[in-house]
Amino acid sequence: MAENTATINPELYKKTADEKMNARLKMWLEMCAHCGLCADACHFYLANDRDPKMMPAYKAKKVLEAIKKKNGVDEQTVNDLYETIYGECTMCRRCTMYCPFGIDVATIVSTARGLSVSQGKVPEHLLKAVLSHVEHGNQMAVTEEEWVDTLKWMEEELQEELPGATIPIDKKGANSLYVVNAREPKFYPMDISQAARVFHLAGEDWTMSTKGWDVTNLAMFMGDMKAAAKIAQMVRDVAEELEVKRVVVTECGHALRSLAFESPIWLGRDHRFEVVHSVTLFADYLRTGRLKLDKSVFAKERCTYQDPCNVSRNGGCARDAREIVKYLCENFVEMEPHGEYNYCCGGGGGFIPMAGPFKERRLKSGKVKAEQIRATGATICITPCHNCYDQLRDLNKEYKLNIKVLSFKEMFEHALIIPEELKAKEEENEE
């Protein structure tokens, strides 16, 4: 695959740098005391035999040096920077928790990614997905017809088991608008019927939408906040048009982070709706008894939970996941560390969609996660994030972990207790 080549535009570089430089960045770039305490917070550093050049402060220093060259940037600088900011950081923000000053290296790297974009240096697949999102309203160029067909198809599938279940589309005034990741209609349509099943059993007043249904936002990982704002606006528009009370985000990490916490900044005002991650909603359903799980289904399995960085550390849902687990698993073991202190799986920050040239580094940096999982002795690793999900499946093969990687929805499909009155009447021919 041809690596993308930088097209050096010093004026644009300077303009972008000046635009992006704010008081916090300037403070952080200047104040780093070079104490080195961030080193072992980083999974890249640990997985690459403690290579000093993988430590967060070193990466931040490289960014600072590149920004200092804003009055005469050269191709070498841009190319070097590219390797560091795209190839050696998932912007998981773990190092910030271990930095005495609280320096946000992820924000520094995100800024640098934006600078790289201004010089045409972006991972090809990431750019493609973002362009597709802006053009087609979703990152995988699913047409409206295909989308609606998929919803209808999933509805029919579901109705075989639950005759009353529907997948409402564009229902104005619904309590919840459910938004997904484009790979669900594209590759994992069952995710949608699994979610519909949960909503039906919980008696939720919900809807999906013909537009603005892809809640992913890969532009965030390009540091391209203008494109990110455009993409977030699609979801916001549809949610506000349908006057829903809340938007429920599918089991996806960066989608929650971008819609709930970043897009109100990009778009200048708060949303007129609440944003809830599936994990939080599921926990709420279980707590209030709207959903009931049969814990014996997974009794023979040993389960662990992979905290997606953008669901736990950057999304605040670590506790909600633990609550679900109490209703779902007899035998649950935590990874160490976990919750907000989890290590990134290596698939975040755009690494999964960046694919090809980044895969080797992704699998290598995942070593830390693989060892964490192995230490739990788990047979099932639950994760409510599409990127973690893909990465864990790859790590499972690469490091021979012998685990099953499952989302909560997938587990619910087996463990949900369906009240008799909602079940389809059994046909006589079945014994």
């Binding site: 704010n22 104040m31 005391a33 070079h34 005495p100």
Partner: protein
């Protein structure tokens, strides 16, 4: 006016002026730029997360302290002694009293002497760590060593002056020069973290806090 009097009078005023004025400018610049370009700080402002973030790091109540107990211990000792010794040194107190007629509590000379040695010892630890640990070495710049030297010079000369090693007049003049030099460079270097630490901790604490996540 001899050199001693110059350092004791006008240059000291100048040093304090640059130090305080410089830090004020730093803060004003931060607030000025941030009001335009860092709106989230104000939009998501929260006293709760601001204080939580600061308290967890002003005290060793964070994961880093657990993970790196030795660096944390040395770091705390260094900072405490560095701040407390010059402020509560008896000899400094006498100078304040002579000039302004004000006085406050002082350390005994023996304690101050040990605290000075602690500052020097901790600093040596930092220097060795910078050289020995590959991950610290890789980010270390010449400026880091210069700032360590600037920070320790007043303590070394202060120690020598108290014990009257070498020529007292020369040593005390050097001590004053280094002390004033340190004050002057603070606003223009990483040493400004004595104040910016609180700003950065507040900003990050609130940013994590609005996601209900700790930053410690």
């Amino acid at each position: 006016m001899n050199l001693y009097e110059l350092l004791r009078g006008p240059l000291l005023w100048l040093a304090f002026g640059v130090f305080i004025g410089g830090m004020l400018v730093r803060v004003v610049l931060f607030v000025g730029t941030s009001l335009k370009k860092d709106r989230p700080i104000y939009r998501f402002f929260s006293w709760k997360w601001l204080w939580l973030s600061i308290v967890h790091w002003v005290l060793p109540l964070n994961e880093t302290a657990k993970k790196h107990p030795i660096v944390t211990l040395v770091g705390f000792l260094f900072h405490i002694c560095l701040l407390v010794t010059p402020l509560f040194l008896l000899a400094h107190g006498v100078l304040w009293y002579e000039s302004w007629g004000i006085s406050w509590w002082s350390l005994t000379e023996k304690v101050a002497d040990y605290m000075t040695l602690i500052v020097i010892g901790c600093l040596l630890f930092f220097v060795v760590r910078r050289i020995v640990s590959p991950h610290v070495r890789v980010v270390t710049t010449a400026a880091d060593y210069v700032l360590l030297a600037v920070s320790v010079a007043p303590f070394v000369t202060g120690y020598l002056a108290y014990h009257q090693y070498f020529d007292y007049y020369t040593v005390i003049v050097l001590h004053m020069i280094f002390g004033e030099l340190m004050l002057v460079v603070i606003p223009f270097t990483k040493l400004s973290h004595f104040l910016m630490f609180f700003v950065s901790r507040a900003v990050t604490g609130m940013e994590f806090g609005r996601r209900k996540a700790p930053s410690w």
